[in-house]
């Protein structure tokens, strides 16, 4: 399958600290790749290199290459702000924008990037895509922050989907949610990958095994093993992967 996102010899630094070390990884289109590994191993940092958010941190820098649909997102001629419009991101803590209604939260990306057409329709599609439409269709004017935690997280997913990105990055999207909301978001991830490529950081190996097609195991900034999830979780090739997935560290 042809990769839609491809990192090549990617290195990420915080000032002098080398957080992501020479990672190369190709993500097949319309699949779900899980990034696992112990806390602090560089999963979030790697993810944030894929939509040029890493460079927002002062003194942080990136070396290497990231290709999106075959062309480099680190091309000097590109504006990082524009790059981010084609790669959505969902964060660990649900973070709908305070002071905005549910509807405004969904369309704010379109509105502020200058594509104001058919916003009602886009909002409905995005909310349906995030499996939230039925719950909120009668209260689109209510504040986004009035929803429950799980609904807020799906609202954030809708907000990202409204930009129609081919790729959606998620950084531990369920770790602040209760088990029922977590199950809903997991279901949603599985249905989303029919139309969007998902790259999901998770500290929950069961979750990775349940939802992902491929899994990447990170350790101390390095990519230790990357394989079909069914292979990685049953017959890992690296001893460190095996130790991690059998719960001997991390």
């Amino acid at each position: 399958m042809k990769p839609i996102v491809e990192a090549k010899n990617l290195n990420a630094y915080f000032e002098n600290f080398h957080a992501v070390k020479n990672v190369s990884l190709a993500v097949p289109e319309k699949s779900l790749v899980a990034l696992i590994g112990p806390s602090g191993c560089g999963k979030s940092t790697f993810l944030r290199c894929l939509n040029r958010m890493h460079e927002e941190i002062p003194k942080a820098r990136v070396e290497g290459e990231v290709l999106l649909g075959g062309s480099s997102i680190y091309d000097r001629k590109l504006d990082p702000v524009a790059v981010r419009r084609s790669i959505g991101m969902v964060f660990q803590k649900p973070n709908p924008f305070p002071g905005m209604s549910i509807f405004e939260n969904v369309v704010v990306g379109l509105k502020l990037t200058g594509s104001r057409d058919r916003m009602d329709q886009v909002a409905e599609e995005a909310l349906k895509g995030a499996a939230l439409w039925e719950e909120v269709k009668d209260k689109l004017k209510k504040p986004g922050t009035s929803l429950s935690g799980g609904q807020q997280q799906r609202l954030c997913i809708a907000r990202a989907l409204a930009m129609k990105p081919p790729v959606l990055l998620m950084d531990e999207p369920t770790s602040a949610l209760d088990p029922i909301s977590t199950a809903k978001v997991e279901e949603l991830m599985i249905s989303l990958k029919k139309s969007v490529t998902l790259i999901v950081v998770t500290h929950n190996m069961q979750q990775a095994a349940r939802v992902s097609d491929r899994t990447a195991f990170f350790l101390m900034g390095e990519l230790v093993e990357y394989d079909e999830s069914s292979t990685l979780f049953t017959v890992p090739k690296d001893a460190k992967t095996e130790q991690y997935i059998t719960g001997r560290f991390g």
């Binding site: 939509n51 702000v81 981010r84 991101m89 305070p98 704010v108």
Partner: protein, 285 residues
């Protein structure tokens, strides 16, 4: 539980009681001046509230009746013009301090703003006097508004900075990750998230400058007429209180008390509206 533990807990409970009572007593002591001021001002001022107070000019000495309508309107426009200048600039400075706090310039600006807010208002009055009154050649409402704007600016800037800093950084990141340019994230997302806090801060600052007296003595001075132009002197409630309260005419003293109670009501009402507005927004979440 053995008896020794029990004794300790009784002693501790007594001590606890005592401290709570002490705190309640101290809180009451702090309330006494407020209640006393309110009671006194309203007892003296309310009897003289009537429509004429708001619609008429002061009558010459010896005649009864009359009002301070010109001072009410004068104060309104003094504060309005000060707000038109001071609030947007203050908010922009606050945004700069909060969102670009790492730049070296922000450090300098922050220090200047802090110094400015520590300068006594009478000194700012003298500054407005030399900056505007002297070049123009006479006292004016413009000079008064300028002085009030200079007082307003650091208060609004500090409040804005503090309120913006309460907005978690992941809100900004979420905006940036949508591909929204940073300046739009700041103005259209972060500022919206902070709007109730900023509104409250601005309203309280306006209520405060409405009561400023000293800087107006050097700038807007006062007037017997309705305010007509920014370039003429203008009456204001605090300055009228100052001059009428000390005047040897009972009629004027009454007007001063009425003016004082109007000014206090303004502050109280602003406070209560803001408390109510921010609470109801909080609850709707």
């Amino acid at each position: 539980m053995n008896p020794a533990d029990f004794q300790i807990s009784i002693a501790r409970r007594l001590k606890n009681r005592f401290v709570i009572l002490l705190l309640i007593a101290l809180a009451c002591v702090a309330l006494i001046p407020l209640i006393h001021v309110l009671h006194y001002v309203y007892a003296q001022g309310l009897p003289h509230w009537n429509l004429n107070f708001f619609t008429e000019l002061p009558k010459p000495v010896g005649e009864s009746g009359g009002g301070l309508g010109n001072a009410v309107v004068g104060s309104f426009f003094l504060v309005l013009v000060a707000a038109i200048v001071g609030v947007p600039v203050g908010i922009l400075v606050g945004i700069f301090l909060s969102e670009y706090s790492r730049s070296a310039l922000a450090g300098w600006v922050r220090t200047s703003i802090e110094l400015l807010s520590g300068v006594p208002s009478i000194v700012l009055g003298i500054f407005a006097y030399s900056a505007i009154v002297v070049p123009i050649g006479h006292f004016s409402m413009l000079a008064g508004s300028f002085a009030l704007a200079v007082i307003l600016l650091p208060v609004v800037a500090k409040t804005t900075e503090e309120v913006l800093k309460l907005i978690p950084s992941h809100i900004r990141e979420a905006g940036l990750a949508l591909g929204i340019p940073r300046w739009k994230v700041t103005l259209r997302i972060v500022l919206i998230a902070a709007r109730s806090g900023i509104t409250t801060g601005v309203a309280l600052a306006l209520a405060r400058v409405a009561g400023e007296t000293a800087p107006l003595l050097f700038t807007a001075l006062s007037s017997q007429h309705w305010p007509r132009s920014l370039l003429e002197p203008a009456a204001s409630l605090p300055v009228q209180i100052y001059s009428f309260a000390l005047a040897p005419f009972e009629e004027w003293n009454h007007l001063a008390w009425a003016a004082a109670s109007v000014l206090v009501s303004l502050t109280l009402v602003t406070n209560l509206i803001m408390k109510w507005a921010t609470r109801s927004r909080g609850e709707s979440r």
